[in-house]
């Protein structure tokens, strides 16, 4: 969720091929792999117990490591939380933002974004539903770098949705009098309602309802002059 722009993560560090460089690369690659394993489990765990409920010991147990093994990768709980947020952002970009960008510009991108989000829930990438929906309510009224990072992610997403809305209006696929802020707010609400209902009822039917609501809402706005 960090952004709508694809941020290519260039991996390895060079082209040297001495034994020493290979060993360095091997060690670093192992470390990166372990780090990835830790963070994948951390994102999953955090959607169930929260970013604050995520404990170093609990996470270490879940992946069969010692606590100090985790401290070798992240110096503190806060650093782990921030890295976990970034990992969740990469997953969100891959599974939700990516499919939206792959769709034709305008209204199809709005529908693709919502459908991708519902698929993100349906596929149970995270056992506790949307990582960020939970994190916003958990961290919203606190303070510190973790809260600020979550707020930043949420703002980035809202801005992205608004861009799609503005584009759809400019292309004449939504009525010219549609209020971008209002529709962005509504779409975010549909997304949040889908997450809450799916988390609670564990029933894919709520995602079908959500997808139908998105379509009927956009169809109505295509014809009317006032949102």
């Amino acid at each position: 969720m960090p952004g709508a722009t694809a941020t290519p993560r260039t991996g390895g560090s060079g082209r040297t091929s001495s034994a020493r460089a290979d060993r360095h690369r091997g060690r670093r690659a192992d470390g990166e792999r372990t780090r990835g394993t830790i963070l994948r489990e951390a994102t999953r765990l955090a959607t169930v117990v929260g970013l604050e409920g995520l404990t170093i010991g609990g996470l270490a147990d879940a992946i069969g490591m010692s606590k100090s093994g985790l401290y070798a990768h992240f110096g503190s709980k806060e650093a782990l939380q921030l890295a976990t947020i970034d990992e969740a952002g990469r997953v969100f970009d891959d599974e939700v933002i990516g499919p939206a960008l792959a769709a034709p510009a305008g209204r199809p991108q709005i529908i693709a974004l919502c459908d991708a989000f519902f698929q993100h829930l349906r596929g149970r990438t995270f056992p506790g539903g949307c990582f960020f929906a939970g994190a916003v309510l958990e961290m919203g009224t606190r303070s510190g770098p973790v809260r600020d990072r979550i707020a930043e992610c949420q703002m980035t997403f809202t801005r992205f949705v608004r861009e799609l809305v503005v584009t759809a209006i400019a292309r004449g696929e939504l009525g010219p009098a549609v209020d971008p802020d209002g529709l962005t707010f509504e779409l975010n609400g549909i997304i949040l309602a889908a997450d809450a209902a799916f988390v609670l009822r564990d029933d894919p039917a709520v995602l079908d309802l959500a997808a139908a609501v998105v379509r009927s809402r956009l169809a109505a706005l295509e014809r009317t002059q006032r949102a």
Copy 2:
């Protein structure tokens, strides 16, 4: 949020006036008062640190009591959590359900319900926003009596909103082809989006936007035939 029906909580126990009964009543009244103080602070604290993050020690400190003083009122953390949920439900009934029921039946009740919810946020009854919105995402994927109680509250609220919608359709204040489940879902989404945005941005302007969205949404559905 337990229900839309007013549940009068009959207090005192009788009409006896012996010294012994008075002393009993006095003791019980003191206990009830302390219990209320504890629960009021518990609901507030829980909206910031979560129902799970709510600790006996932290709550005891917040109200200037000893931990064991709390254990005298609630035998366990789980019992405290359940009592806290009930207290939050009473507050929600008072501040949100009550004003809706006081409005004229039909569409005015839907608007009154949403406005009362936005006012519930604006007045900062709870520092962390809507108690139940946070609790649903925190407890949704767990198990046990606390999760079940939260799920029950959410279902009761959803049913209540749906009743208002059905009534408004029956009265001809919403188009006959409006889908009750779809509109209930949308209204719940607007409520959740308002809570998330207010918690994060701490800006009453988001509540004004939410109120405007509710009105324009209902106005559009009054005229159209398909939701």
